[in-house]
């Protein structure tokens, strides 16, 4: 319950963020990243599936996967990370499936967002809250 390595890493990440901010060049916010990706077009909720654990077993390596039938590109964002941009997956027109998975580090409890650009130019999205917890008191 106490002083987990995870917690120390989180604290560490928070600390380095605070120190780094004044000298860092501006990190794009989630909203800015989405606007760049969509060109300002409307984004529909649903239509794709984002799978992530409700509670991360290890915040340093959280498995996430997307299933976005008919998508040409899928942007994944960790909205609460110092740098929200996680990955963009691209699917060719002959793709047999539109599934991708990766593992990401989450600094704290936050929403993970997937935005898919569909073949017809429209945008679909899915969101999942992943909790990063100290843990240790269940039973």
């Amino acid at each position: 319950m106490i002083f987990s390595r995870r917690e120390l890493l989180i604290v560490g990440a928070g600390a380095s963020l605070t120190m780094a901010l004044p000298i860092m060049t501006h990190a794009a916010t989630s909203d800015e990243l989405i606007a760049t990706f969509t060109g300002g077009a409307a984004v529909a909720e649903g239509g794709i599936t984002l799978t992530a654990p409700e509670i991360a077993e290890n915040g340093n390596t959280v498995p996430v996967s997307i299933d976005a039938p008919g998508a040409s590109e899928v942007l994944i964002l960790a909205t609460g990370n110092p740098n929200a941009d996680v990955a963009t997956f691209k699917f060719g027109p002959l793709a047999g499936s539109f599934v991708a998975s990766t593992r990401i580090r989450l600094a704290k409890t936050q929403d993970v967002v997937a935005i898919a650009k569909m073949a017809d130019g429209s945008f679909a999205s899915a969101k999942s809250t992943v909790k990063v917890t100290i843990g240790g008191c269940g039973g």
Binding site: M1, I2, F3, S4, R5, T49, T51, P53, E54, I55, A56, E57, N58, P63, S101, T109, T129, K131, T133, I134, G135, G136, C137, G138, G139
Partner: protein, 563 residues
């Protein structure tokens, strides 16, 4: 059967307590003398399938006292719904009469007096009698064990759970699922599972590296001409709530999509009845039932709730069979054409003075305990207070543990995890080593002593509170609030994480906890590897022996709002 002598004693105890409590339906006690084993087993059989469910035994081979919670809050959509109803409200909701055996078994109301009247509950030898009786009537009945079976007692700890494995094998379960089992370490779990004559199910247990299923997800049975799929679901938050380093290759989680896939798979394979043997916890199962079609019955576990009636969520029936061997559920189902057409249900209370022990299993239990008899029975002290664990914010067992941590480890503040296992003791009883281990026996018991800032203590309390009071059950881990000694606080359970906990106060001085100040904190059951300190039972044993008699003052250090 409860003897007349017991009832006369009970009447004395009851009248002695009447003045103190001022309420209670004591006149009923005398009317209960007719309680018999036949009555407890009386059942209106129906249909073609019988399920027997037992869960969260926590290694309690022998009958125990077990006080049900007085405070068990539900937040969000489940506020005021079972199992978040306690005491008199619970009795009213289920039409139970105060003072009856059922009221004693299912609520904390008048616990001490009724415990004298109706005695200890559970004991796997009595459970065996109930199972044998059901099987005599229904030879094809399925016995399903919801897990938390291989942890929670002195002998279980000393034998690496071999005592529980041997006794459970004698009961011949048809399947089980798991939680604390994994705190034996993955090697020991693998060793035991390889020798089991029944499947160890967990659809949500994955290989962490390859993200592939690591255990059998389900087992198909043909019983009474019905194809039955029993799907297992282990505790979803194993590596978070318990030490992940003990089973490093495994990943868990609710995995709702996975469950939907498995349900579809078993239906495609011809299942006419789908049973989920779950260790999710009641609220998680309630949500799962509302999200996934096609599960007929969820045998719930983990949160230790005992409900005398099934809870329906759409077409899914949720069964809650209690803990520590207190109850066995019998569920008869009439399955026709792939649908449940009718059912008969009974939560059978295991009154240990009424149900005769099965001689074979009783002998087996005695044999398992015999090598440890001297240690088990050593008296460490006496308690003047009821010692119990259940309750969202505190219980007297943890008050005792926190008091011991503060004095023995010279700490400002003590933390004790919000476990829900651990039976109760009545006022005036000796505290034996067995009793102490029933409240502490586990494989990561070290009592640490470290320094924490007030700010970090606040983070801990907020974190644990969100595991209990997040309005979305999928974000709850079960268990109760971490118990705190030496410090009081206010909690608004309706607030979001980060703003539930206020007014943290050092009880000794009455001063507010300073976020920047460092406090000496002692606690136990850390999930971190290589935690240093003596095992918690040594700390508490030394304290009890030094005090001789234990008296726990009413705990008023947690002020709760928003419920």
């Amino acid at each position: 059967m409860i003897s007349r002598r017991d009832f006369l004693q009970a009447t004395v105890a009851a009248s002695a307590l009447l003045g103190a409590s001022g309420f209670g339906n004591w006149a009923r006690l005398a009317a209960q003398q007719a309680l018999t084993q036949d009555q407890l087993l009386q059942f209106a059989p129906t249909g073609n399938v019988t399920l027997i469910h037992i869960t969260d035994i926590h290694a309690q081979l022998k009958p125990v006292w077990f006080r049900e919670p007085e405070i068990n809050l539900g937040v969000g959509a489940v506020n005021g719904l079972p199992p978040h109803v306690t005491g008199a409200d619970f009795l009213k909701l289920f039409n139970l009469t105060p003072g009856t055996p059922e009221a004693y078994a299912l609520s904390h109301t008048d616990f001490e007096a009724l415990a004298q009247a109706y005695g200890r509950m559970g004991g796997l030898d009595r459970v065996a009698t109930v199972i044998n009786s059901i099987r005599a009537e229904r030879p094809e009945a399925l016995l399903l064990d919801g897990g938390d079976t291989w942890q929670g007692s002195y002998t279980c700890l000393k034998t690496n759970a071999q005592d529980m494995v041997n006794v459970m094998n004698a009961l011949k379960p048809d399947a089980m699922t798991s939680h604390w089992e994994f705190t034996l370490g993955i090697d020991r779990v693998t060793e035991i599972v390889e020798g089991l004559a029944f499947p160890f199910l967990g659809a949500n247990i994955y290989d962490a590296e390859w993200n592939e299923p690591a255990y059998e997800p389900y087992k198909m049975f043909e019983r009474g001409g019905v194809q039955i799929a029993v799907i297992g679901q282990a505790f979803p938050y194993m590596p978070i709530a318990n030490p992940g380093w003990m089973f490093p290759g495994l990943s868990f989680g609710v995995r709702e999509e996975r469950m939907a896939e498995v349900v579809a798979e078993v239906r495609d394979a011809g299942a006419e009845l789908v049973v989920l043997l779950s260790h999710n916890g009641f609220d998680v199962d309630r949500k799962l039932a509302s999200q996934i079609e096609g599960i007929d019955v969820i045998l719930t576990g983990h949160t230790h709730d005992a409900l005398p009636e099934p809870v329906m969520v759409g077409k899914t029936m949720l069964i809650a069979s209690g803990s520590n061997g207190k109850f066995v559920t019998r569920l008869d189902l009439d399955v026709q054409g792939g649908a449940v057409k009718g059912f008969s249900h009974k939560l059978i209370p295991i009154f240990s003075d009424v149900i005769a022990p099965d001689p074979e299993v009783a002998a087996l239990i005695d044999a398992e305990r015999a090598p440890y008899e001297a240690e088990l029975t050593e008296i460490l002290g006496t308690t003047d207070s009821t010692l119990y664990r259940r309750g969202n914010f505190n219980g007297t067992w943890d008050d005792l543990i926190c008091n011991a941590l503060i004095e023995e480890r010279e700490a400002d503040i003590a933390l004790s995890p919000g476990f829900r296992w651990g039976p109760s003791l009545l006022p005036g009883q000796p505290i034996t080593r067995e009793d102490l281990f029933n409240a502490t026996a586990m494989t990561y018991p070290n009592a640490y002593r470290s320094e924490m800032t007030g700010e970090f203590l606040h983070v801990i309390l907020e974190d644990v509170a969100d595991n209990l009071f997040n309005p979305d059950p999928y974000y709850q881990q079960g268990g109760d609030m971490v118990r705190v000694g030496g410090m009081g606080y206010r909690i608004d359970v309706s607030k979001p994480q980060g703003s539930r906990i206020t007014d943290m106060t050092v009880l000794r001085t009455g001063e507010a906890v300073d976020p920047a100040k460092t406090y000496v904190v002692s606690g136990w059951a850390s999930v971190n590897e290589a935690t240093e300190g003596p095992p918690i039972w040594d700390v508490v044993e030394a304290y009890i022996k030094r005090k001789g008699t234990i008296q726990i003052d009413p705990n008023q250090s947690v002020q709760v709002t928003g419920a």
